[in-house]
């Protein structure tokens, strides 16, 4: 197992080098001029040139790249111009926010979608199967910003059940001491139940928004994979041996149907992490997606590069975890990679 992980790690390196070069070139190829943008509305040509020199953008591309790589080796991803903070700090602060939201949404969605998928497969053609289809289709076809705004409108504006969509915490609450960066966990660790309640209530609406969106792939994949397994011979054997329905479905069928579901979960997670920009915008969530988009709009190179790099690393790690999970779930999967 360790050998497999080490081997995979070595393979990551050329990938990352490629990512570094491509993102560097891509960001420079963007049409905007950061010097003109950050010189402010009242700057003349001379002021813009002064800014350009300060940002090091007057140097040839290869020198800029050398400097970038050198900083990277020292763990410095540069400074974001639009928020004024080091990119490393920003990502460190924002990644947990996005991860917490995404995980929460994913768990919500799993709790609904997996049983729904199993039931739909077991009772194929029944009303529950149709419900599953309708829910999944509706969830995936509603754009997230729409679902988000709708939920805010109903639960915050009209009913007043949900707190104001002001990000991770109410404006008058204080954040828990940073341990993991996940407010739910940190508030429990530090025993601040009030904070836990506050951050959970902030998390519910955006969590459901993401959850509704990711229902479809999970439910449909569970259903399809369950159908295939249920039709297989070992399930027929199990049934013929007189095992009760519950054992057949949960122990025999579902465990075997889990592999593609896990793959889907991994994909959905990494997809959501980068793609929940709109949810972050709607709920003023200080996440990494909205940060990256903001940076892209203002031609702020450093955060864009940092974001892509972080995402690349995250994808690689996630894939590794999924591969390891495969081995745990199905011993037949060989771990040599």
């Amino acid at each position: 197992m360790l050998r497999m992980i080490a081997k995979r790690m070595v393979l990551i390196i050329p990938n990352l080098i490629g990512v570094v070069i491509v993102t560097f070139l891509l960001t420079r190829a963007l049409p905007g001029d950061p010097a003109a943008y950050f010189a402010g509305p009242a700057a003349d040509k001379q002021a813009i040139e002064q800014i350009r020199v300060k940002l090091g953008l007057d140097k040839p591309l290869i020198v800029q790249f050398g400097r970038y790589v050198n900083d990277l080796v020292h763990g410095d991803l540069g400074n974001s111009l639009s928020t004024g903070q080091p990119v490393v700090t920003e990502i460190k602060n924002r990644l947990p926010a996005s991860a917490e939201l995404t995980l929460f949404g994913l768990i919500l969605s799993m709790v609904i979608a997996v049983p729904l998928g199993i039931l739909a497969a077991v009772k194929q053609g029944s009303w529950i199967d149709h419900t599953c289809r309708v829910v999944a289709t509706a969830g995936v076809s509603l754009p997230v910003f729409f679902t988000g705004l709708l939920l805010v409108y109903v639960f915050y504006f009209e009913l007043g059940w949900s707190p104001a969509p002001l990000g991770r915490l109410d404006a008058f609450a204080t954040a828990p001491a940073q341990i993991t960066g996940f407010y739910l966990i940190d508030s429990v660790l530090t025993g601040k139940l009030e904070t836990f309640r506050a951050s959970l209530s902030q998390l519910l609406l955006p969590g459901f928004t993401l959850g509704i969106f990711s229902l479809a792939p999970i439910a449909r994949m569970t259903r399809a994979s369950m159908l295939a397994v249920l039709a297989s011979e070992f399930v027929r054997t199990a049934r013929a041996s007189g095992l009760d329905n519950r054992t057949v479905i949960i122990t025999y069928a579902f465990r075997n149907a889990m592999l593609p579901v896990i793959t889907t979960l991994g994909m959905v997670f990494s997809f959501l992490l980068g793609a929940n920009v709109l949810v972050e915008k709607v709920f003023a969530w200080p996440g990494i997606g909205s940060y990256a988009v903001e940076a892209l709009i203002t031609s702020d190179f450093a955060p864009v590069q940092g974001f892509v790099l972080t995402m690349a690393v995250l994808y690689v790690v996630l894939n590794l975890i999924i591969d390891i999970l495969y081995g745990v779930i199905d011993p037949r999967v060989r771990l040599d990679g």
Binding site: L30, P31, G32, D33, P34, A36, Y37, F38, A39, G40, P41, A42, A43, D44, K45, Q46, A47, I48, Q50, I51, K54, L55, S80, L81, S82, T83, G84, Q85, E90, N93, L149, V152, Y153, Y156, F157, G160, A164, P165, L166, G167, A171, F172, T190, G191, K192, L193, E194, K281, V282, F283, A284, P286, S290, Y291, E294, I297, T298, S299
Partner: protein, 538 residues
Amino acid sequence: MKRRDFLKSASAVAATSAIAAPAVFSPAKAQSRAETLLIVSESGPNNLDIHGVGTNVPGYEVSWNCYDRLISHEMKTVDGKAYYDKDKFKPELAEDMNVGDMSATFKLKKNAKFQDGTPVTAKDVKWSLDRAVTVGGFPTFQMAAGSLTKPEQFVVVDDNTFRVDFARKDRLTIPDLAVVVPCVINSELVKKNATEKDPWGLEYTKQNTAGSGAYKVASWVAGTEVVLERNDAWVGGPLPKVKKIIWRIVPSSGNRRALLERGDADISYDLPNKDFVELKSAGKLNIISTPYSNGIQYIGMNVKNPPFDNLKVRQAVAYAIPYQKIMDAVLFGLAKPMFGAPADAATQVAWPQPHKFNIDIAKAKALLAEAGYPNGFETTISFDLGFAGVNEPLCVLVQESLGQIGIKCTINKIPGANWRTELNKKVLPLYTNVFSGWLDYPEYFFIWCYHGKNSIFNTMSYQSKTTDGFIDGAVTAAATGDKANYEKDVKGFVDTAYADMPRIPLYQPYVNVATQKNISGYQYWFHRRLDYRTLVKG
């Protein structure tokens, strides 16, 4: 730490917080809510120091409230609203200002202290102004607009006396000392945190406020929140009523509106015009709309290249803009029209003032035919996507209307980051843009936008010896106090600009602020950001 100790301390933490928990609902908390303002806006600062590299506009708001200037402006009432008085100055850090022929002397308030307790001295003032004219970029540029360019102009007379020597007679010098840039910084504190690479300590002041102002930044999470606390030792003016400001960044305008309507947020000031109009008619909130001082949204034309080098073409365009439709359908009436003045209206000694064009398709067609384009021509109209909410519908209306006289426009949307670069190339044939100046003087606007020295705001590349003569004349007349010549010259350049029509003013945009009914004390400032110091809750 041993496991047992850990458990002990963990349970101790749990116990204290369990005791503290009910306090959340205690009157003390409600009291602090009453003394706290929650402001929501679309974007936040990227730097707490206006001298920083590329500090954005929200950053100016922090600087304005956390630092003092030598002088500031008095307030006056315009249309029932508090509006800064550009002609009247009041002391802020200075207790007394003495303007001589070629210099101004300031006596500093003796009890003025920085937020860390060190007294404010003339040395700090000099260091701060030296910094503003030296760091380059926007602050240096803004100082130069008032003929403040060299550190030698700033003289320490003694600990409490400071003198500014004028480089030349310029009536913008004193007003330029009251803008956001010449703020007074705690020089010793910043010098302690400066490095060889960063002699002015810009990295330190980017993250920390080091002023003597009414508020200090207690915490700042970029892109999320700024929390400011009142400086109880402030001597720059009467002690502000609001103890704490929480400024949250809420990117979705729909949610900002919901927060206001539900009563959770106290103030928001960048909602779409449509929302403001609806909120106004609903009547649950205070909506304050004030025209931008010295600011105009206009249609610009590149006069260097055909077809817009032809005066008749420009006039035809000016007769084919659907002005009123833009006012109604794009701005929902929240702007001050800059068109359609009566034909016999006399030119005012004021700026902005409306021109006499209005939509007249037949006249436009005739002018276009006279210009030699009876069948029109093709061109592109460009706008800044960063302000798409107004620009996009505006350009669509202009496109449709110009289509009626045969000018076929393709709409060219330019992303915000790219807009200034494209505009600076001065090749866009037709575009819409806004210019507004901090210093509210007609000649200030015209130096930037119409003068033949071709600054970047002369986006049309307009060149006219007549206009230049009037502008230079007005600047000289203003410096020497020659009222008669000043009035003649201002009328002269306004008339020439409206005769040559290189750019077509559309309207003066409004700054719209929505507050809860229990909030009062909003003041309009030239920088168009909030001044927390006069806000009152309840």
